[in-house]
C-alpha cells in the first residue's frame, strides 16, 4: 500500500469520525431546507427564486465548518512532525489532506445539494448541474480552506482567523458557481461560469499546497 493511499485513508477516517462526514452534510442541508422557508416565507414563487442559490451558499459555508481540525489537531498532538518526516513531500501531504477533506465533506454535500434545492422548489431537471457545480466548487473550497487552516496553525481563535483568510478567497468561486447556476436556470449560456469555476478549483489545487507546506514548516519551527 503506498504512503499516499495510507495517508488518504487516515485523513478520511479522521474527517469521518471528527467532522461527521455525510451526516454533517445532510444535517446542514436539512437545516437550510427547514429554516429558509421559515425565514423567507412559504410563498413558493419567492422560494423558487432562491432555491438554487441557497444550497450553493450553504455549501460554501459548510466547507468552512470542519477546517479547524484539518492541520491544528495534528499540530497539537505532535502528529504533524511525523507527517512532515514521512516519505512524501510536505506539499503532497497537504494536498492529500485537502483531497480527503473534499471526499469526506465536499462530495457528500454536493450529492445532497440537489435534494435541498428540490425541497425549496427547484425543478428536478436542474439536479445534474447542481451536483457538478457543487462538486467542483467544493473542491476549490477544500483547497482554499486548507490554505486558511494551515496559515492559522498554532494561533488561538484559529477558526476566526481561518474565516478571515478564506472569505476573500472563496468569493470568486462563489460568484462563478452562482453565475453558472443562475444562467443555467434562466436558460442562458452557462458554460463560461462553470469553466471559470473549474479553472479556479484547479488553480487552487495547484498552488495552495506550496503555501500550506510553507505554513506547516513555519509552525513546526
Amino acid at each position: 500500500m503506498s504512503a499516499a493511499w495510507r495517508l488518504y485513508r487516515r485523513e478520511l477516517a479522521l474527517a469521518w469520525s471528527g467532522g461527521g462526514g455525510p451526516l454533517l452534510a445532510l444535517g446542514f442541508y436539512a437545516a437550510i431546507a427547514t429554516l429558509v422557508p421559515l425565514a423567507a416565507g412559504p410563498s413558493l414563487q419567492r422560494l423558487a427564486g432562491i432555491a438554487i442559490a441557497f444550497p450553493w451558499i450553504a455549501l460554501a459555508l459548510a466547507s468552512l465548518l470542519s477546517l479547524e481540525r484539518l492541520f491544528e489537531r495534528d499540530f497539537e498532538d505532535g502528529a504533524l512532525d511525523l507527517l512532515m518526516l514521512g516519505p512524501l513531500p510536505t506539499e503532497a501531504m497537504a494536498a492529500i489532506k485537502c483531497l480527503a477533506q473534499w471526499s469526506a465533506v465536499g462530495a457528500p454535500l454536493a450529492l445532497a445539494a440537489p435534494i435541498a434545492a428540490a425541497t425549496l422548489g427547484a425543478p428536478l431537471a436542474f439536479a445534474p448541474m447542481i451536483v457538478v457545480v457543487s462538486a467542483v466548487g467544493g473542491f476549490a473550497f477544500a483547497f482554499v480552506g486548507g490554505l486558511g487552516a494551515a496559515l492559522a496553525l498554532g494561533s488561538r481563535r484559529g477558526g476566526l482567523i481561518i474565516a478571515v483568510i478564506v472569505l476573500p478567497l472563496i468569493s470568486p468561486p462563489v460568484i462563478f458557481g452562482g453565475g453558472a447556476l443562475e444562467a443555467y436556470a434562466a436558460g442562458l449560456p452557462w458554460r463560461t461560469g462553470l469553466l471559470l469555476l473549474l479553472a479556479y478549483a484547479l488553480g487552487a489545487a495547484a498552488l495552495s499546497p506550496f503555501f500550506m507546506a510553507a505554513a506547516c514548516r513555519n509552525a513546526a519551527s
Partner: protein, 204 residues
C-alpha cells in the same frame, strides 16, 4: 542508509536567546548519545534542528552514508525516526489503527507493526481507543513504531519519561538490538539510559 551523523559548530537561537553555540556532535553506526542538560538548555531544539524543523543559527548538520554525504532531506524523510515528547496519536482512533498508520507511513507494514506491539506488551490493548490507554501505554505504542519500520537514525525526546522500570529495561534491550544492527540513537534524557551511551551535555 545513514551510517553517521555530524554536527559542527552548531548554535541555535530561539527568539532573543542563544540556547547554545559551538556544539560538536559525532555519531557513528551502532553508537548512542544521550543529550543531557537542565530544562531549557536546548535539548529539544537540537533534536528538532537535526530532524530539519529548525534552522540552526550557525553550524552544519550532515548525514553520512556509505558512499559519502547524503542529501539531508532524503536522509530525514527515509531513514530518520523522530519522536518528540508528544506521542502523535489520535485519542479517538484505536491503538491498532494508529500504530499501523504510523508504521506504514514511515516504511513498515502491518505484520511488523503487530510484531512490534507484541514486543512492547501491547497486544491486548490494541483494539482500545488511544485515549483509554495510560500515558505509559501510549508511549509504548509510539515507541513500537520505531521497531515496526526500519529507519536507522532515532531522534528521541525523553523517550522513557512515562515508562515504568520494567518497560524501561525492555526499551533498553530493544534499543541495544537496534544499535547492534548498525542503528544510531540520539536521545534527550534526564534519567540514566538503560543502554550504553556517550553523553553530550548542553548548557554546562
Amino acid at each position: 542508509m545513514i551510517t553517521g551523523l555530524v554536527g559542527e559548530g552548531l548554535a541555535i537561537r530561539r527568539g532573543e536567546r542563544l540556547l547554545f553555540h559551538d556544539i560538536e556532535l559525532r555519531l557513528g553506526a551502532g553508537a548512542a548519545v544521550a543529550l543531557t542538560g537542565p530544562n531549557g538548555a536546548g535539548k529539544t531544539s537540537l533534536l528538532r534542528a537535526i530532524a530539519g524543523f529548525i534552522a540552526p543559527e550557525s553550524g552544519r548538520i550532515a548525514f553520512l552514508g556509505e558512499a559519502g554525504e547524503l542529501d539531508p532531506a532524503d536522509a530525514r524523510s527515509r531513514d530518520t525516526h523522530f519522536l518528540g515528547h508528544q506521542d502523535g496519536l489520535k485519542g479517538h482512533r484505536t491503538a491498532l489503527d494508529e500504530l499501523v498508520f504510523q508504521a506504514g507511513w514511515t516504511g513498515g507494514d502491518e505484520a511488523r507493526a503487530l510484531a512490534a506491539a507484541a514486543k512492547f506488551g501491547l497486544t491486548r490493548g490494541l483494539d482500545l481507543a488511544v485515549r483509554q490507554l495510560s500515558a505509559g501505554q501510549r508511549r509504548r505504542l509510539a515507541l513500537a513504531r520505531l521497531i515496526a519500520s526500519p529507519r536507522r537514525l532515532w531522534l528521541l525526546d525523553e523517550p522513557l519519561a512515562p515508562l515504568d522500570a520494567r518497560h524501561r529495561a525492555l526499551f533498553g534491550d530493544l534499543a541495544a538490538q537496534h544499535l547492534a544492527g548498525g542503528g544510531l540513537l540520539l536521545a534527550a534524557v534526564h534519567d540514566p539510559l538503560p543502554y550504553p551511551a556517550r553523553t553530550l551535555e548542553l548548557g554546562a
